[in-house]
């Protein structure tokens, strides 16, 4: 008896190099670029010029880094959303929908408070509303998984589509509070612009424009890191994620922990939605949000950051750069779909790289191992 497909096998390493935290993400990133280059070559594109243009539009051109932060801000939040949940083995794929609901809630509160609100009320209210909306939407699959044993991957995904349908309904298919019914809004459906007092500030550092939302994201990432490492809740998350049975023996309630994690994870994506409305779009923009797909890209960010909240900050800038370049370069001579290709390849390579670091590849000598296997 012989296994047809394996000319080698994987042997666990006895010693895990500490460098794994750096080598896997960096190696995977470049491996993905290489694979992407092959694909570009096969389809008749010049990978070097494509990559060069991405690099210029993402980081090097004047003002490009500011544009990259515009994409990195929502990715920072959705990356944290995925990182927190995946660490506990709760596969929340619903960051996309939680992001939409956060945007709906935060734009709703900003519109409701109106133009006479104080800045120091309007902005915190948007932050809280966004987090709350995301948390409510995120808690649903958590509850279903914890108490009704329903697969959270599919439920959280379905909720993405439902949130998408709701946001489209609010702007395109109804005369809702969110829709602009004056002027051109009568002819071309679009969201009502939130009052200027609710616009989130931006800070200029030299030529770089740093959105308030990005700073909020950095603070949130730090808070998550402390929550995971220094609190009782963080400890419970680790135990429930690693060994649910042990958690139950130790008197923890895995169900509650899972619902709490799901809500926190959803709140993070909801904050991303709030930041997107407050800092950049200033309206509820369903089509724009759906095209960006920040929720799904957040999974790539989290994986490349190896689920580490602080690393998510840096990775969000890299993926944000690729996303930003993707927008900027849309046109006849720049292939669409390249952003998703690169994101998918990065995810594939991160997974593969992880294995290759944990295991050694050992070549099997054809005959002898087959004989051994036949015994």
């Amino acid at each position: 008896m012989r296994s047809t497909f394996s000319g080698f096998r994987l042997e666990p390493r006895s010693h895990l190099p500490r460098l794994i935290n750096w080598t896997v993400p960096i190696g995977s990133f470049f491996a993905a670029l290489f694979a992407g280059a092959l694909l570009l070559l096969m389809t008749g594109q010049n990978p070097i010029s494509v990559y060069q243009r991405i690099l210029e539009r993402a980081f090097l051109d004047a003002g490009s880094l500011s544009g990259t932060l515009v994409a990195a801000t929502p990715l920072l939040f959705t990356g944290l959303c995925a990182a927190v949940a995946f660490r506990v083995g709760f596969f929340n794929i619903g960051g996309e929908g939680q992001f939409y609901v956060g945007a709906i809630f935060s734009s709703g509160i900003a519109l409701a408070l109106g133009r006479d609100a104080q800045v120091w009320i309007a902005i915190p209210a948007m932050i809280i509303a966004g987090a709350l909306g995301g948390a409510l939407w995120g808690a649903i699959p958590g509850f279903l998984r914890a108490y009704l044993r329903t697969n959270e991957i599919i439920t959280s995904l379905m909720l993405n589509y439902i949130a998408g349908v709701i946001s489209v309904y609010l702007i395109f298919e109804s005369s809702s509070f969110w829709r602009d019914l004056e002027g051109t809004g009568k002819m071309f459906p679009k969201g009502k612009v939130i009052p200027p007092v609710a616009f989130w500030p931006e800070y200029g550092i030299g030529s770089l424009v740093v959105p308030f939302g990005f700073l909020l994201g950095i603070a949130t990432a730090a808070w998550i890191a402390v929550l995971q490492r220094r609190t009782r809740f963080g400890y419970e998350m680790r135990v429930v994620g690693g060994a649910p049975t042990t958690a139950r023996y130790a008197g923890m309630r895995p169900g509650r922990v899972i619902v709490a994690v799901a809500a926190v994870s959803g709140a993070l994506a909801g904050l991303g939605g709030a930041a997107s409305v407050g800092n950049f779009r200033h309206i509820l923009d369903p089509k724009g949000m759906q095209q960006s797909g920040f929720g799904y890209a957040g999974i790539v960010v989290a994986a490349l950051a190896r689920l580490n909240p602080v690393a998510v900050i840096f990775v969000s800038i890299i993926i944000g750069g690729i996303t930003n370049a993707g927008y900027a370069l849309q046109g006849p001579d720049f292939p669409s779909g390249l952003v998703g290709i690169l994101e998918g390849l990065i995810l594939f390579c991160t997974l593969g790289g992880e294995v290759l670091m944990r295991y050694r590849v050992v070549r099997t000598r054809g005959v002898s191992s087959n004989v051994a296997g036949a015994q």
């Binding site: 379905m158 309904y169 799904y296 790539v300 998918g344």
Partner: protein
Amino acid sequence: MNDNLFIVVFAAAIYYGTPLVFAALGEILAERSGVINLGVEGMMLLGAVGACWVATSIDGPAGVVLPIAVVAAMLFAAAGALIHAFLTITLRVNQIISGLALTIFAGVAGVSSYLAGLWDLGQAPVANQFGKMDLLGWGDLPVLGPILFNQTLLTYLSWLLVVLTSIYIFRTRWGLQLRAVGESPQTADSVGVAVQRSRYLHVLAGGAFAGIAGACFSLSILPTWQNGMTLGQGWIALALVIFGFWRPDLMLVGAYLFGGLSSLRYTLQARGVEIPQLFLDSLPYVMTIVVLVVVSNSAARRQLGAPAALGKPYEREER
């Protein structure tokens, strides 16, 4: 007679349920061997773009072009499945994240849209399409005729595949081996079944089936190219596998239920029935959650369901 609302809704349920049948049938094969593939949505889009490309670029009679287009769809989607198979079976990475990666890689912002842009697809409906046809001459039967026997060739093919797959899984030696691989790979290995090979073959077959599901969209339902045209049907197919307890026959019922729900917005609107858009658009997704909750609970109670080794990589022990 043919305008009867009942008939229209049921005929549409089967028409729109057909891609779900193909995709879920393929996923049943993959999951029976122990591998979850969350890349269904992405593989469907790969199949759709492959089929659309062939149908757009090859001129000829439908009888020649359409089979080639379907085969192209199967190959495109199976190529996507091969990445997942290599990562999960050979490298034993997390199946969930690898499947998600496949959907991101191949999906709406990925390869499928890239290729469609490269080949300039979606400018016009494809010339050769799968239209409704009365294959068996039974289309004039009252009620059943227009519902069952005035469908596309793809629907008839899906019935054939459901029957063959059922027989394969439950009545053949290879099916028994497949189930053993999914339930207990150690046992299967010890009696001489090549576990890795079985998993590779069934993940690839699952991909090929998902490819036909994609072809249903680009050759019949739309029938042209639109980025992300499968609209989450791949995820509903994943839910259908659970709904059908990993059995093709039960899954077929669920697929037509969801095909009917997805088609309601077209059928009811065309007849001027006043139902809020929001309700109709979200119905398939809401119902997926509801059905999944009900099924998961009863499955847990009655010990029905998933292959025991589903999602677990198989590592052969050294002897």
